[in-house]
Each structure stands twice: as C-alpha cells, then as structure tokens.
C-alpha cells in the first residue's frame, strides 16, 4: 500500500493504479520548480529559460514570501529553486531561510559562481537544504563548450568549498548530451569523490535549447547507452523521471523498467513558477501555450493550480493519437510534451526521440517550430574601440 523513494525525485517503486490517480491531479503539486530570477552570469546554450538578464518585473521579496506562505498552507513539502542563477538575487538567503522556517524544504540549482568559502559555510549550517551543482562535462572542454568558458573550474571550486565546509550529499546535476554520454562513469566517480549524488536529466529543446538541441541531443545508439547504464548502474542516480521515454527499449518486464512514475507530470504533479510569478505546466514549457496564470492573479497560486483551464485540461485523459497502434505506448506514454511542442510535432504523436525511430520520421515532416514567447538572453557583445582624442 505504500511505496517509498527519495522524495527529491519522486519515484514510487510500485505504480499502477496510483498513476491513474495522479493523472487526475493533486490538490497541490508534489514537485514545484521556482525560477527565482532570469539574471545569470552564464549563457548556457541549452538554458531552458533563455536566461541572462534580470526581468524588472521580478517578484519582490514580499511577494516571494507571500507565495511561500501559500505553499506552506498547501503543504508543499519542498521546492526546487533555479533560475537563471538564483544566488544572484540579493534576498536569496532570506527567501531560502523563510521557506525552510515554514516547513518547505529547498533544493536549489546553481552554477556555483557564488559559493565561496563563506557562502559554503552558511549553506552547510542549514537544515532541509539540498544543492545541485550544474555540470555538463567531466573536463573543462566538454563542459565549457555548453556552459561557457571557465564554468567547469567555477563548479569544481564550488564543490570543493562545499566539501570543505562539511556540506554533505550535494548533487551534481548533468544534462546528458551527445558529447558527455561517454562520461557517465566518470561523472559517477567525480560524484563519489565528493561524497555527492549524481543526477542526470534529459536535454530538452526548450528555451535556448531549441537552437542547440539538434547538435547536442544524444544519438539513437546513445539513447540505448543511457538506458542500459541506468539499468545497470543507476540505482543511486537521480533522474527526475526524465528518461521515461526510454522505457520503450525494455521488454515489458518490471526489471526492464526504469524506476519512476512513468508519466508526464505537467500540471498534474509538477509545475513551474517563473521569476515574475507566471505559472507554467512544467519547467520545460515556458511558453505562452502552457502558461496557466500568475501568482499575482486574485486567487494566487492556489487558484491557478486548482482552477486554471490549462491545468484542468492537462488532467483530462490524453489521447495516444498516432502512437495508439504502437505496442510500446504503455511503456513510454508517448514521451515528453515539451520535447514535441518545441520541435513542432503534434502533442498526440511520438516524442522526437522516440526509440522506435518514429520521432525521426515525424521530425522530417514536422511543422514550423513555435516562436519563443520570451528571450532573456543578454545581447551579444559588440566590440567597442576606445580612442584617445
């Protein structure tokens, strides 16, 4: 009657009837991501939120605390904070401490640039706090080609500072690309060397990723490598359930199934709040089509979660559409809505990375890619020549 898993990545061991219950939605999200700011010191080529510049409409400290009050009343047990680079916000510690003191655990994602020795000590002293350091290669070349020059050294320094401050069990968070699939063992070894936990997630064609996805996405053969690596060595690896589309590679037996809920949780068990308070169905669909409302609306976040037309429609049974005749549909559930949307595929058809090859066929025939609703990227630098008069 029960199923337990680390709640930082919600993955009950036994699914079945529970999944159909979860598809109808919950009274409050289990897993809520909150991007605190669009400001970022980096400009990663796959950034889901196209971050760079702060949005002047950003939620104030008081507004952020009011949202946390709501989440406390909804009994949201923990939140995932990201950005942008969340530590850029001057009230970062104030917001995190306010959440924790209200019984809301915090996991935050960072590139590590602001985790100096002092910050590491302050973070290590806090309870109910998890940290995810983003890293996309086990060497500077592989990492920095995606995350920018110097970002590998920055992340490693942050991890050293956390370790030296006694922060135990932080996470190393990796977006799996064509160029780092072969480093999975090395990532695990790196995590082990810091007493950290490895987390790997799927590259999505969202945000700036819409432009880099075609070059960075793992090949079909590499998808099988990821699947087999997770089955063989993934017991202690977090995935955020992001690879459920790979379950179609299994033979249908429980042993061939990656652990996890195996469902698209968008608007059902997960959602995202962006820096200006807009609520989206999941962290990978920051686009007007999947915007449910705003925490600044009269009923606040609670009304958006419980009553918005978008979220109510996402909780209706979905159609298998073009995948209905495929024997693997039960295993992969048609894959990721966001991945389909941003490459111009119909939502009731195959995932662009369908392991049966249907995605490749569909891509050849795909409609136009949707226009980005927002881009917070910093403008390209124009070289300025200083002249002396």
């Amino acid at each position: 009657m029960t199923a337990t898993e680390p709640a930082t990545d919600v993955t009950p061991a036994s699914t079945g009837p529970l999944v159909s219950q979860l598809k109808n939605g919950l009274d409050a999200p289990i897993c809520l991501t909150w991007e605190l700011t669009y400001a970022c010191n980096l400009a990663c080529v796959h950034c889901l939120s196209s971050s760079g510049r702060r949005d002047p409409r950003e939620l104030t400290t008081a507004e952020a605390k009011a949202v946390l009050d709501e989440l406390r009343d909804l009994q949201v047990f923990y939140i995932n904070i990201g950005g942008g680079e969340p530590m850029i916000r001057r009230d970062f510690f104030e917001i995190v401490e306010y959440a924790i003191s209200n019984g809301i655990g915090v996991k935050f994602s960072t590139n590590g640039a602001f985790i100096d020795e002092n910050a590491a000590r302050r973070l290590a002293a806090m309870d109910y706090l998890d940290i995810q350091i983003s890293l996309d290669g086990t060497d500077a070349h592989t990492n920095d080609s995606v995350r920018g020059s110097g970002s590998y050294a920055t992340a490693v320094r942050a991890m050293e500072n956390l370790r030296d401050a006694g922060f135990e069990g932080f996470k190393i968070s990796v977006v799996v690309t064509r160029h780092n699939v072969d480093q999975l063992d090395e990532f695990q070894a790196l995590a082990d060397s810091f007493g950290a936990t490895l987390r790997i997630t799927r590259l999505r064609p969202s945000g700036r990723g819409a432009d880099s996805w075609h070059e960075l996405r793992p090949t079909l053969a590499q998808q099988r490598t990821i699947y087999e690596w997770l089955l063989e060595k993934g017991d202690n690896v977090l995935t955020g359930d992001s690879f459920f589309h790979l379950n179609a590679l299994g033979d249908g037996s429980p042993e061939s199934h990656l652990p996890g809920l195996n469902l698209c949780g968008a608007g059902r068990v997960v959602c995202l709040i962006d820096p200006i308070g807009e609520v989206y169905a999941c962290p990978f669909v920051m686009h007007d089509e999947f915007r449910a409302g705003s925490v600044r609306d009269p009923g606040g976040f609670t009304s958006v979660w419980r009553e918005s037309d978008l979220f109510l429609s996402l909780r209706e049974p979905e159609s298998a559409g073009a995948c209905a005749s495929c024997g693997s549909y039960d295993a992969c559930q048609g894959g990721c809505m966001a991945a389909k949307f941003f490459v111009g595929l119909p939502l009731d058809g195959p995932d662009p990375e369908c392991v049966g090859g249907e995605g490749e066929l569909a891509l050849a025939d795909a409609g136009p890619r949707p226009t980005a609703s927002a881009d917070h990227s910093k403008p390209a630098r124009v070289p300025v020549t200083l002249t002396r008069r």
């Binding site: 337990t4 919600v10 529970l18 919950l26 009274d27 289990i30 047990f77 109910y128």
Partner: protein
C-alpha cells in the same frame, strides 16, 4: 506489528489527497503515497490507542483486511515514517 504502540515520527507530515495522502519525512526526504483513505485514518490515529490492533478496531477496519494494514504499517515503520512510542 499488531501489538506495537506506535506513533508518527515527529518529522513526518501528512497531506490529504483525493486518493489517500502523501506522507513526507523531512529528515530522510522520503515521500510515501498512502493509497487509501482508511490507511490515512489508521496512520493518523496511531497515538490515540494502546496498540495497532486497537487502532484498527477503533477505525472499524474489517478483520479480514488486518493483514494488509499490518503490512502497510510495517512498511511505514521500516521507512521510519512511524516509530515506537516510548
């Protein structure tokens, strides 16, 4: 487990949901799904009675279902959501 005097771990929170409840342990960061409202009632009444059998009786759980409740409570005990009462 039927003879045991039990209580929810103090670092555990129970959130009611249409299917039952979510149970979260702030220390272990584990999340558990209670998939039936009856299990939720039992879990929330643990500390009101001398032992689990009395809890099941008080919650009017049919004795034929006791083994299933025993297993569910045992599972929660093993994941430290529930502990012995001093």
């Amino acid at each position: 487990m039927l003879d045991a005097a039990l209580e929810l771990h103090p670092k555990v929170a129970v959130r009611p949901e249409p299917f039952g409840a979510l149970v979260y342990h702030y220390d272990t960061r584990r999340l558990v799904f209670l998939k039936h409202p009856d299990v939720v009632r039992v879990v929330e009444s643990l500390s009101d009675h001398d032992n689990l059998a009395d809890v099941l009786t008080a919650c009017e759980i049919d004795e034929r279902r006791w083994p299933a409740f025993d297993r569910a409570v045992t599972s929660l005990y093993e994941s430290e959501m529930i502990r012995d009462r001093d």
